[in-house]
């Protein structure tokens, strides 16, 4: 668990953090989002003590982070620095192996670990011998993510880790991230500029502006009526539409829906599956000019989902 209490930090006269209170429970992913220069990176760095706070305190695992030796603290916190910062004179393999080696893992363990990480990131294993200078920006970022995950740390700090990756790969990485998160339940603080990324990954979205937290809620909670102001303008008017991507049709409790009564012209192929996300469901309705769509369940029942089901779902999560 990570807890920030009244944390503040100034660079000269520049106030980077102005009294931050934030609690991230064990196993949750908090996504920091906000305009450039609002203090996201600085907040992240106060956690692993790359930045010393002027006031307040940071508690990691029940102990103030200043009570750990900095090296000990940092070795159990995976950190993807903004700007990647791979070691240019190390190969990809050596880069990923840094923390495991510092922790004294055996080379065989490290090998196995690296292979799995590389698999997950979608890089071919021929890349292991390359130097960072030979990688593209997106590839470097992926290696940076692998390096942060290498020693399987319980806490992860990720500063725009997918910023330079192409949209397709990014989506794959986000899915991979969600899978890992579901399995391993790390405590994650994730910085992004991308509202959609925040929606997909966050257990809670922390909106920052000018060194303060202006809002801190589960992503669904921003879908309802918001006061006019910074949060609304930053998240954008189409936020509810974007939020749909977070949920799959499963979230609508399909088994309670009424059976589909109209004839199916295209057979079962016309039905959607329960893995389809709600944004796609809505798009499909528009494509077919329908207000209701058939869904095929696992027990081969075909049920009917209506447009209003989606609207009600959004309303429910925003409560």
């Amino acid at each position: 668990m990570i807890q920030l209490k009244q944390v503040s930090k100034s660079y000269g006269s520049q106030r980077a953090l102005a009294g931050i209170d934030l609690e991230i429970p064990q196993g949750e992913c908090a996504v920091l989002i906000g305009p450039s220069g609002c203090g996201k990176s600085t907040l992240l760095k106060t956690i692993n003590r790359m930045v010393a706070v002027d006031g307040g305190e940071v508690v990691v695992d029940g102990k103030r982070n200043t009570d750990y030796a900095p090296e000990v603290l940092r070795r159990q916190i995976g950190y993807c620095i903004q700007g990647v910062g791979l070691f240019p004179h190390f190969t990809v393999r050596e880069n990923i192996a840094v923390v495991p080696r510092l922790l004294g893992w055996k080379e065989r363990e490290i090998d196995g670990r690296i292979r799995r990480l590389l698999d997950m990131s979608g890089l071919p294993s021929s890349y292991l011998g390359k130097k960072p200078g030979q990688l593209s920006g997106g590839e470097s970022q992926r290696v940076g993510v692998c390096r942060a995950l290498a020693a399987d740390p319980p806490v992860l700090l990720m500063d725009e880790p997918f910023g330079a990756v192409d949209p397709l790969t990014r989506e794959k990485l986000q899915l991979a991230f969600n899978q890992i998160q579901e399995e391993l339940k790390k405590t994650v603080v994730f910085v992004t500029h991308d509202v959609e990324e925040a929606i997909l990954l966050a257990d809670r979205v922390v909106v920052m502006n000018q060194g303060r937290i202006v809002s801190n809620k589960a992503p669904g909670k921003f879908a309802g009526l918001l006061e006019e102001g910074f949060v609304k303008s930053f998240l954008g008017n189409e936020y509810p539409l974007r939020l749909l991507k977070r949920y799959s049709a499963k979230a609508l409790h399909l088994e309670d829906k009424p059976p589909w009564t109209n004839p199916l012209q295209g057979g079962a192929g016309e039905c959607l599956t329960q893995e389809t996300n709600l944004k796609e469901v809505l798009s499909e309705m528009m494509r077919r000019n329908e207000q209701a769509l058939p869904f095929l369940l696992q027990d081969n029942r075909v049920v009917q989902v209506e447009y209003m089901d989606i609207v009600h779902h959004l309303h429910a999560v925003s409560k």
């Binding site: 620095i81 990647v84 240019p88 390359k130 130097k131 200078g133 390096r147």
Partner: protein, 389 residues
């Protein structure tokens, strides 16, 4: 390819100038008499025009046409030249002006402006080509070989060498030892100071300022400044005197040279650490490396190429500076040079200077070779083609 051809043209111009307008040497019946200038026609004998003209033609062709693909054969020209200055030297040694009588046992030929300009021109042309350093080195070896083989007995330089030969090798060795050891001693403190400057913003101004100060004080005054405390030390601490520490001689020379090497090494070390990307150092710290681990496995290897070139600068500069050790009895080639100056024996001065220049060039060349090796070994790859992947 603009720069090499410019070098070659400049070299060609120098050679032409030397052949047309400058005396190759001075002929003197003995050490004290005033001399007669020796022109190149006299030196080359009856074929002077053919030989000189041919040489100019060849070098001119190389300098002006050599860069073109079509005339690639001309690339061989720098490799044809190494023996030319050596042969010129042999001819010079044997030249006697018309109507002059002289005792072969005492007559001497000093090298004139023409010879030096000619040599400079040849070296310049050679260094313009591919692997030009080696061709130029070969030329130097050629000169050395004819001297060693005794083919230039009348050359004033040769005669001076024979006079001091008992000391020559010893002074040469002393010079090298003094120059190299004082650099070696400065390496670790230099890097350490550079690192402190990098780590501690406040210390930076003080430290760099202090190191700079040594560089700003003229070497000679620094010698004087060091002599005083060392003399006092030797007077009052018997142990120091026993260790051979005195106000003059080896100790102050060594100290001053070491202080002098500090700046290039420190400045380069600082610049080297400073150019390592901040994100890299930060991520090393964030991975949980200790400051020592960061230094050893990130900062130092990444700064090494720059540090190395600082050491290279220090070595070359120091080989020259070591001449001053001769002034205070520290030995080295300076001993010969200052002896020559005091006797107004310019040939002895030249004799002392040549090895210094040669050593500086050779050291620079050798260290440059090493530079490539280190950069590759540290392995910051910018060009994927280089690694063959």
């Amino acid at each position: 390819m603009g720069a090499p051809s410019l070098k070659a043209r400049l070299g060609f111009a120098l050679v032409a100038w030397a052949l047309v307008g400058l005396p190759m040497g001075t002929f003197r019946p003995n050490r004290v008499v005033r001399g007669t200038p020796l022109g190149w026609d006299l030196v080359l004998g009856e074929y002077a025009f053919v030989l000189g003209g041919g040489l100019l033609l060849l070098m001119g062709a190389y300098a002006f046409l050599g860069v073109r693909k079509r005339f690639r054969v001309l690339g061989a020209v720098p490799w044809l030249l190494p023996l030319v200055p050596a042969l010129l030297l042999v001819r010079l040694s044997a030249a006697v002006p018309l109507g002059m009588e002289a005792d072969p046992a005492v007559l001497r030929v000093s090298l004139g402006a023409g010879f030096w300009v000619f040599l400079a021109g040849v070296l310049l042309v050679q260094s313009a080509g591919r692997r030009g350093g080696w061709a130029a080195g070969l030329t130097g070896c050629g000169l050395l070989v004819v001297a060693v083989l005794g083919q230039v007995p009348h050359l004033a330089l040769y005669r001076e060498f024979m006079n001091v030969r008992a000391n020559f090798a010893m002074e040469l060795r002393r010079h090298l030892v003094l120059a190299l050891v004082s650099v070696l001693v400065a390496v670790v403190p230099g890097i350490a100071i550079g690192y402190w400057c990098y780590r501690y913003e406040r210390a930076k101004e003080w430290l760099l300022g202090a190191v700079n100060l040594f560089q700003v004080i003229p070497t000679l005054s620094l010698l004087g400044l060091v002599m005083i405390p060392l003399t006092i030390l030797a007077r009052n601490v018997p142990l120091a005197a026993e260790l051979g520490i005195k106000g003059i001689g080896f100790a102050p020379a060594f100290l001053v040279l070491t202080l002098y090497c500090l700046l290039p090494i420190t400045a380069n070390a600082y610049a080297g650490f400073e150019q390592v990307e901040e994100a890299v150092v930060d991520s090393a710290a964030a991975m949980g490396m200790t400051p020592r681990q960061i230094f050893r496995s990130v900062l130092f290897p990444l700064a090494l190429p720059v540090i190395y070139s600082g050491i290279r600068t220090a070595v070359t500069q120091n080989i020259g500076n070591t001449i001053l050790a001769g002034l205070i009895g520290g030995g080295g080639m300076g001993a010969l040079i200052f002896l020559g100056l005091s006797q107004s024996a310019s040939d002895l001065v030249v004799l002392g200077t040549i090895p210094v220049v040669a050593m500086a060039l050779a050291a620079d060349g050798l260290l440059k070779l090493g530079e490539g090796y280190w950069t590759r070994k540290v392995g910051v790859v910018d060009d994927p083609v280089e690694t063959g992947q």
